[in-house]
């Protein structure tokens, strides 16, 4: 049982780290603000979600697991709102590339 949980943890955290890496490469390499935002949301949403998923089997209490999930949901909300605000500012021409 614990071996299965360990394998799940490692797989999810490695997957999360991959999405963070891909998001960072996209942020650095993509040509304009909108495509960079697109790359960044992958890191926030999928990357952090997978890392939280991988950490849950390693916790003792369900309360701690719930706290991690709430943190992920709050980051989702914040990153969605900030992406919209940055994209709107970019569309109005307020941001340099």
């Amino acid at each position: 049982m614990s071996a299965i949980a360990d394998i799940l943890s490692v797989a999810a955290i490695v997957g999360g780290a991959f999405f963070f890496m891909a998001g960072t490469v996209g942020l650095l390499r993509f040509p304009d603000t909108l495509t960079r935002l697109h790359a960044l949301t992958k890191a926030d949403n999928l990357g952090l979600g997978l890392i939280v998923l991988g950490l849950i089997p390693r916790l003792d209490s369900a309360f701690d697991a719930a706290k991690l999930v709430v943190i992920w949901l709050l980051v989702l909300l914040a990153s969605a709102v900030v992406s919209q605000l940055v994209a709107r500012a970019a569309r109005r021409g307020g941001l340099q590339q």
């Binding site: 909300l77 914040a78 709102v81 919209q84 605000l85």
Partner: protein, 310 residues
């Protein structure tokens, strides 16, 4: 493995600190400082000082970062309007003073005897008398309560200092620009959805501060952030500084602290000496009273000096 990670962390902190100083754009330097604060918090976590890490994220990176972003955008308007950038001599003097302060601090740390003097054992031996489980809270609210009282009072003076920058015609008025945003837009949406969650989390952080990392300062920063969000979303306006209820909210927390400290003096001990048996209850009362006052104080510091009539 952990040492390799710490080495990477330290290299990143030093590199980012250098970049923040060298970069020419004020806004870029501010963002660098913000990320620097987040990395510093990771360093505190690595030293297992979770309370310090929380405060660093909340005050050092969050609040100071927001203040600096406001200062950077104001500075940009002034510099482009007048075209007066600081000269070479000013820059050189600022650099020298900063380097002297950093060098002095480094010399103090390196001059500490090995092992460094500590009162940690005395705190651990006497923590039971305070009724709280988190030694940091024990020190801040019982053994060194006077320091905490002065800290809260200093913040009040900071608000007075910021207010005193108001021009005469705006005295008694509201701070900052009037924020307007689309009532059906995403910022107004966040301003409605997030504050209830933020208030619950702030109270939770205050409550667990008795036994785990957390406390009134970290909770107050979250409350101040929620208030600022609601203001920036245009849902409410900054209160005018002449409002009596606002001033009462500012002084309520420190006033309760001082009053209960006087109770300790009257009960035969000394000022801020909590009567035996009531320690935990009085500490909780002070923390609960301080948190809203601190939140209003921090929010008003962010809002800045009054600049338009009420």
């Amino acid at each position: 493995m952990i040492e390799a990670l710490n080495l990477i962390l330290v290299t990143m902190i030093l590199g980012l600190a250098a970049w923040t100083i060298v970069v020419r754009d004020t806004f870029a330097a501010t963002v660098g400082f913000l990320v620097y604060g987040l990395l510093l918090a990771l360093a505190w976590v690595s030293l297992r000082a979770i309370d310090v890490a929380l405060t660093e994220v909340a005050i050092g990176a969050g609040l100071t970062g927001a203040l600096l972003i406001g200062a950077a955008s104001r500075l940009k308007q002034v510099v482009t309007a007048r075209g007066d950038e600081p000269g070479m001599l000013t820059r050189l003097m600022a650099g020298l003073v900063s380097a002297a302060v950093a060098g002095g601090l480094a010399a103090c740390i390196l001059a500490l005897p090995e092992p460094a003097p500590t009162l940690a054992e005395a705190v651990a031996a006497n923590l039971g008398a305070t009724g709280v489980g988190n030694p940091i809270t024990g020190v801040l609210m019982a053994f060194r309560a006077l320091d905490t009282l002065l800290e809260a009072t200093v913040l009040l003076f900071a608000v007075v200092g910021v207010w005193s920058l108001a021009p005469d015609r705006a005295w008694g008025g509201r701070a900052g620009p009037a924020h307007r945003s689309d009532p059906n837009g995403i910022l107004a949406y966040l301003g409605r959805v997030l504050p209830p969650i933020g208030i619950v989390i702030a109270i939770y952080i205050l409550w667990v501060g008795a036994d785990d990392p957390g406390g009134k300062f970290q909770g107050a920063t979250i409350l101040a952030a929620m208030w600022t969000l609601v203001i920036m979303a245009g849902l409410v306006d900054v209160p005018p500084v002449s409002r009596t209820s606002l001033r009462l909210a500012l002084v309520a927390g420190p006033a309760v602290f001082i009053a209960l400290g006087a109770v300790g003096a009257a009960a035969g001990g000394a000022f801020l000496a909590w009567p035996a048996g009531l320690e935990k209850a009085l500490i909780v009362v002070v923390e609960v009273a301080l948190m809203p006052s601190l939140a209003v104080t921090l929010g008003l510091l962010l809002a800045g000096a009054p600049g338009r009539p009420a």
